[in-house]
Amino acid sequence: METLLLTQVINVVYEVLILAIIVLGLAVVMGLLNVLNIAHGEFIMIGAYTAYVVQKSGLPYVLAVPAAAGVCGIIGLVVERFLIRPLRYEPFETLLATWGLGLLLRKLVELGFGRGYRSVEIPVVGSLNFFGEAYPTYRLVLMGVSASVLAGLFLWYRRAPTGARIRAMVGNPVLAEAVGIKTRELARNTFVTGTAMAGIAGVMIAPLTPVEPFMGLAFIVNSFFALVVGGMGTVAGLFAGAGIIGGLQSVLSATVNPTTAYLAMLFLSILFLWQRPRGLFPRP
């Protein structure tokens, strides 16, 4: 019984870390630039397809990480130049535009790979004995990588002035340029970082889920709700949102059923949007 409980706890931690990695790209773009990239899920999907292609080519799975970051980064670069920048990063305009972009990306992938499910094999097979309980090694690897990426990002954000510069740029672009911030480049790099991170998230989750053109839809919904609950533009918000949404889903899916978990998440998000629209830890 004790070990079963332990497994459950690890499962919750796992769900939370995975959701945090999935949210990360959106948190960067939406939390810092105020651009709700509705196509975020599609970037994850493209990352997953990149992993599929890398694996099918017989290359080591690790190579999928830079490949997906590159592919999604380049798409992000093009999207920023021809969609986001011409719309001057306006929240509503970019929301509509990225919604259309999501449709386009889904159709393009469908055109190239077809509608059917592709499966990516788990790159690290086997299981580890974890306090007397067998646990899939890949999940443990995934948790380790997620935790390191998040911790690294947290430290960097705390130390490097880039976070404050991005806030300065979004709040007062004219003054930002005056104090020496190359605002065009900084906005572009921030957006591209967000899409590249979505690509990496796609590589990480590809072996755990059917890879298909519409897979991104679920991710954008969960990511958006996590940000709504947690609050935008802060690392604490990212963790709190991923923790609450991911934890809630994981616990309720295990104890009741996935539909109830989904309903509870919807209910909680609506409650937050209504009563506390800036989330638990908003940017001051």
Partner: protein
């Protein structure tokens, strides 16, 4: 080249294709403070923005230390030693006072700013507060400190004293004069004669987008200035 350190040569321009400023030339020497005066809406701020790269001139040229910088981006201009302090939205409201000052410093340290904090203790008391909570006058102090701390040799300031109380206007003047004596040049758009009297080497008055008077400060009567400002 006529020998000025910062040269605005026959600049015309404005917002879009509008011509708010027409053929304005101002040459500022090394260690010279030029005060730009004129009634509201005659194009003073527009000229400052044209000179610093926030607006693209329709014609004319801007030179800094002999190098043409016409149409260069403000961030590039800062890199070659041209600082600009705007008239409006002068600080980052969402950032703390400390962040406003340390934003572009790799090490985030503010040790070398002690001399400014001694002059304006209000700022050092509020380092952890968001700049948006400062009064309009305090924001102007913060903006000036930020501008002076950038260490540029050419500093353009648009209406530094708006909302600033008298004692602090005097202190601003002292800081500007000290930097001037250290070799920096200034173009200060200003209405407040308390400041102008204390810092100006030369006075330029604009009206309807053109320069109508340019003379050494010692040669300009206060009466003359007031006539131009009130008519």
């Amino acid at each position: 080249m006529t020998g000025g350190y910062f040269e605005i040569e026959k600049i015309s321009g404005g917002y879009g294709s509008g011509r708010v400023v027409r053929d304005v030339s101002i040459s500022i020497g090394r260690g010279e403070v030029v005060c730009l005066l004129g009634r509201n809406g005659v194009g003073k701020s527009t000229l400052a923005k044209l000179a610093c790269g926030f607006l693209r001139p329709l014609s004319g040229a801007v030179r800094l230390a002999g190098h043409e910088i016409t149409g260069a981006r403000p961030s590039e201009n800062l890199a070659v030693g041209l600082t600009y302090c705007p008239q409006e939205r002068v600080v980052f409201d969402d950032l703390t006072v400390a962040e406003n000052l340390s934003l572009m410093r790799a090490n985030r340290r503010l040790d070398d700013l002690d001399r400014y904090f001694q002059v304006f203790p209000r700022l050092s008391e509020r380092l952890r507060q968001h700049a948006g909570t400062l009064s309009g006058g305090e924001k102007k102090l913060l903006s000036l400190v930020r501008g002076l701390a950038e260490g540029s040799d050419m500093i353009v300031i648009d209406e530094p004293t708006e909302g600033v109380q008298f004692e602090n206007v005097v202190r601003m003047a002292e800081l500007i004069v000290a930097r001037k004596n250290a070799g920096a040049s200034f173009l200060v758009v200003e209405q407040n004669l308390t400041l102008v009297d204390r810092i100006a080497d030369r006075i330029v008055i604009m009206d309807h987008g053109e320069v109508v008077l340019s003379a050494a400060a010692s040669e300009v009567d206060r009466e003359d200035i007031l006539t131009h400002l009130t008519v």
